[in-house]
């Protein structure tokens, strides 16, 4: 048996071991890597940022997944919530799956830890878990009146009495819905909230689901999309570079600029945030892990992708050489 034939018959447990090492080592020893921001991510960022400081505009985050897909979706949720809290954007959360309810509470708690003055019912509101049987009545009902369709929040308070509802009545005001899913749940929001009421809909999906959503992105039915851990890493970077940016001229963040994002990179493993353009900002504050977890995860994903490509190449070389040898014999 030749070397290449042996390679063809390798025990799959060796492959599993290589996968394990390729994923664990970059997570334990993180390194800086650049993040290339794609258009669907920047479009979503710009849409959310356009609501900054407006009393009559709000967004709704719909959690349609369970803990199994947290590795990809949770960093997106935390990043978007952080963006809302940084830029004073009214944000609501809802879920129609009992498994998503604790995730939703957890994401809000993680994101708000660094913002002392945030108040539930004033700056954000968690509608909580609603049974899936009520999905359609709630989604359609919010087209007329949000406070009637949802009625109470997770703490049992009447929605209509909450301060956050000032200026918010229906999809004209609650104008953006971002659905986080590992399934095709976002299509329901497109069908009912987008088509019928003209609400803007965006998706935060696992990488395997992303390809299904491209037709809706191109048709404009999705205003933006975060795809998998890469989308989350891109959004983390955008929040760092714009929403969480602080200097004397821009104490509350700055506006999105394609030029700035092209020339800027944010090292995740140092305390200094560097700008490769004309300006360079030094900071003593190290970015907390929760705000850079997607970018650290992308290191592991980079190595894993390279490993899979190498596996495919070795597998194919072995296959063709073995075939050639067999033909010669």
């Amino acid at each position: 048996m030749t070397f290449w034939e042996k390679i063809q018959e390798i025990d799959r447990r060796w492959i599993y071991l290589v996968v394990l090492l390729c994923i664990i080592i970059p997570l334990l020893i993180p390194f800086n890597s650049k993040t290339y921001v794609t258009e669907p991510t920047s479009n979503l960022y710009k849409k959310i940022d356009s609501f900054a400081g407006k009393e009559d505009k709000a967004m709704l985050l719909s959690f349609s997944h369970d803990a199994s897909t947290m590795a990809e979706l949770f960093p997106m949720e935390v990043s978007i919530l952080r963006h809302c809290f940084e830029r004073n954007i009214k944000v609501f959360t809802i879920c129609f799956s009992p498994a998503a309810a604790p995730l939703m509470a957890y994401a809000i708690n993680v994101a708000k830890e660094d913002y002392e003055n945030l108040e539930s019912g004033v700056d954000y509101c968690n509608f909580g878990y609603k049974p899936y049987g009520l999905f359609l009545p709630i989604v359609l009902g919010m087209g007329d009146d949000v406070s009637e369709a949802v009625d109470t929040d997770t703490d049992g308070r009447k929605i209509k009495n909450l301060e956050i509802m000032k200026g918010i009545r229906n999809y004209d005001d609650l104008n953006l819905i971002v659905d986080f899913a590992a399934s095709s749940a976002v299509f329901s929001w497109i069908t009912y909230a987008r088509v019928r009421f003209g609400a803007n809909v965006a998706a935060g999906v696992t990488a395997v689901m992303a390809a299904d959503n491209y037709p809706y992105l191109q048709s404009g039915q999705l205003v933006g999309m975060l795809s998998g851990l890469k989308g989350a890493a891109e959004y983390e970077k955008l929040v760092d570079v714009f929403a969480a940016y602080e200097d004397e001229q821009n104490p509350d963040g700055r506006e999105f600029s394609q030029e700035v994002i092209k020339n800027t990179w944010v090292p995740i493993m140092e305390k200094t945030i560097s700008y490769t353009g004309d300006t360079e900002m030094q900071t003593d504050v190290e970015l907390p892990y929760k705000f850079k977890q997607a970018r650290i995860g992308m290191n592991a994903q980079s190595i894993a992708h390279i490993m899979i490509i190498i596996f495919i190449i070795i597998g194919n070389v072995g296959y063709f050489l073995s075939k050639k040898n067999n033909n010669e014999v």
Partner: protein, 206 residues
């Protein structure tokens, strides 16, 4: 009668909701509001039915000491204890329910999902072969998209993420559109068949 009454309900309500969608009027809105209140009342019964069904299936397994009955015991114990923790102390941060979610549910679910990485790597090595021109094309597209998805791709060349995006935006999109059109036409045909009473398999066999 056993088949005719459900059939009449489905056909009548089906046409009413079609009318509600395409002919907005006060009557249709009032009917819709009435239906919403009913659907809110029906939902909790589904939960009760689900819990009863779970207890019956796993209870029988435990009683008969069927193979792997111990797992059924764990399932029921987890259900009872989680529900008790939720009712007794609530589900907010710092409660036993949230502790269990963070320390049991989250890691276990993530572990199950992460197994995918091992299977994909193994399948890529053992089965992804350039045996034909189509398979070779698929391989090349997979290489570019995989590299385009990670920072290393952009570090090698800016063309890699751009080509990756093109593959997703053009050939992938064309295929997805074709599938979506087929599914849409199929769904419309099935809906019409149900509305007109031609498709009756949902009523069961007897």
């Amino acid at each position: 009668m056993k088949r005719q009454i459900p059939l009449i309900i489905v056909i009548t309500l089906g046409f009413i909701f079609v009318a509600h969608t395409f002919i907005p009027s006060k009557t249709s809105v009032d009917f819709y509001d009435w239906w919403v209140s009913w659907s809110k009342a029906i939902s909790p019964f589904a939960v009760v039915l689900g819990i009863l069904s779970l207890f019956m299936v796993h209870g029988t397994k435990i009683q008969r000491k069927a193979p792997n009955w111990q797992y059924s015991l764990v399932t029921l114990a987890a259900l009872v204890f989680t529900a008790f923790a939720g009712f007794a102390w609530g589900t907010s941060e710092g409660t036993p329910f949230m502790w269990m979610f963070k320390n049991v549910q989250m890691p276990m679910s993530a572990t199950m999902f992460s197994l995918l990485a091992f299977y994909i790597a193994s399948a890529a090595y053992k089965a992804f072969r350039a045996k034909s021109p189509q398979a070779t094309l698929l391989l090349l597209a997979a290489f570019i998209v995989m590299l385009g998805q990670v920072p290393l791709g952009a570090a090698i060349s800016k063309w890699i993420p751009e080509t990756s995006q093109w593959i997703l935006n053009v050939p992938n999109l064309a295929a997805k559109r074709g599938i979506a059109t087929g599914v849409g036409l199929g769904s419309t045909a099935t809906a019409l068949k149900i509305l007109l009473g031609i498709e009756r398999t949902y009523l069961g066999s007897d």
